[in-house]
Amino acid sequence: MRPSSALLVGVVKLLVGAYARWIGTGPSSTQRIYFANHTSHIDTLAIWSSLPRALRPRTRPIAARDYWGSGLRKYIATRGFGAVLIDRNRANTNDKPDVDPLAPLRAALLEGDSLIIFPEGTRGQGALPARFRSGLYRLAGEFPAVELVPVYLDNLHRSLPKGALLPVPMVCTVRFGAPIALAAGEDREIFLERARAAVIALAERSPA
């Protein structure tokens, strides 16, 4: 592991613990898309840090270019944890309508890497995720062999909520649930709601 990555993981563990709890599945090098609720800038790092060291180099978080795309953040994102940067604002891609925002994700999946994505598209305020956007559905249809693993991050919405500058150190667990799959001919909205419910089910498990 690169020293910059080791340092990053150390800081994340010190601040928020990021303890993995494998509830519905175990750690595996199978190609996966981890999809999680999104409440804080630490989310990406927390999931990535909670994975066993051997899985980290081939597991790539998706990060928004408008936040992670420049300066120190870009260094952390690309050098530290090998993030895939995407344009999340449709506005940015409107001038070039032929550019699909999912293209960098497909490229990473085609290379055999696993992905960490936040299907809400933006950070929410509360403990439970808002409506999922359709990217997850499209990737599930295009890459049926890739496992879709729901992930729930607890407490991070308290540690570093939207708008906060300094994190309050808190113990956060990263809960991995049983993989779901897109059923043949399944409706987009039904699938997305089912995926969201899989994340919420992990939130409702009592921590004990």
């Binding site: 303890y19 407490n155 308290r158 300094l166 309050v168 150190p169 808190m170 667990t173 921590p207 004990a208």
Partner: protein, 319 residues
């Protein structure tokens, strides 16, 4: 540093050497036991045994660090312990957006400042920094955010968290700043003495409770604490403390009395923090973390015993 090493008393080498040998044996036995097949109950109690042996290694490690590198590393170790303890406490404590800044300050300013004051030998400020200044300023910052919902109870919980996890715990390494007349470099042995008596008391109360425990002291707060366990274990730990008088400035009789005070305070610490924990709706501080934490479960007795022990030594034995 070299100068410091000349001051290492012969007792330390004896103590350290025999502890390493004993613990090595214990770890070996633990490792063999864990590998043997057993039912669930036995596996759990063996895991418990190994965890306790590991706690002893940590104690011996702290002793070695305190002696070999002087006080800086010891202070850093205890500052980290405070950080993790506070992190657990705050995780279980409900908070509101207005608490964010005071909480961040508690972690990133107050913990370093409290331990720095010990390192700089500023007893006067060390003793009042959290009970006076943190007490006045942190709620003031929260009040500026004009969020009055549950304000008193939020402020009280934060102050409790700081007092227990930072203020009280910091009195253990603060023993290193005491000057014992005619005994240079020996205050680290006092830290070891405190940790030894507290740990022995916990272990012995557990053992006596398992063997003879009948009468529960406070069943709703801590079902495992019994009169028989407390008396038997407490007397045993007091005896062990008395027998260790030779590493301290105390006479054997004084050492017994002081060990008894440590035992009682440690017991009250375990009981009181158990009540706090339950009122926050958790059974173990480490329950959310599954074997990765429970810093407060391990330091609750020290938190209560350390300040009292510190003041006894400072008042009666230090220069």
């Amino acid at each position: 540093m070299i100068e410091h090493l000349h001051n290492i008393p012969a007792e330390f080498l004896w103590l350290f050497g025999s502890l390493v040998v004993l613990l090595g044996l214990a770890s070996l036995i633990g490792a063999v036991l864990v590998r043997r097949p057993a039912d669930e109950k036995k596996t759990a109690s063996r895991a418990n045994l190994v965890a306790r042996i590991n706690a002893w290694w940590v104690m011996v490690g702290i002793l070695a660090v305190a002696f070999l590198t002087g006080s800086t590393m010891t202070l850093i170790l205890f500052a980290l312990a405070s950080f993790f303890a506070l992190r657990e406490f705050i995780t279980l404590t409900p908070s509101r957006p207005g608490d964010r800044l005071p909480l961040s300050l508690a972690f990133f300013v107050i913990i370093p400042a409290q331990y720095l004051l010990i390192g700089m030998d500023r007893y006067g400020m060390f003793a009042i920094f959290i009970p006076v200044y943190a007490f006045l300023l942190l709620p003031s910052i929260a009040a500026l955010r004009s969020d009055i919902e549950d304000f008193l109870s939020r402020s009280a919980k934060q102050q409790w968290a700081l007092m227990v996890c930072v203020y009280c715990l910091s009195h253990a390494p603060a023993l290193l700043m005491l000057d014992l007349p005619g005994q240079p470099g020996r205050s680290a042995l006092l830290l070891f003495y405190l940790l030894l008596v507290v740990q022995m008391s916990d272990v012995m109360q557990y053992v006596f409770g398992k063997l003879f425990g009948r009468t529960k002291i406070a069943p709703l707060v801590s079902p495992s604490k019994t009169v028989e366990g407390f008396v038997g274990g407490g007397l045993a730990a007091t005896g062990i403390g008395a027998a260790m008088w030779w590493i301290t400035p105390f006479t054997p009789l004084q050492s017994a009395a002081i060990a008894a005070v440590i035992v009682v305070m440690g017991f009250l610490g375990g009981l009181t923090l158990s009540a706090v924990k339950r009122s926050l709706g958790a059974k173990d501080w480490g329950v959310m973390i599954e074997g990765h934490g429970g810093m407060l479960d391990r330091t609750d007795s020290i938190c209560f015993a350390a300040p009292v022990f510190f003041h006894i030594v400072r008042f009666f034995y230090s220069a």
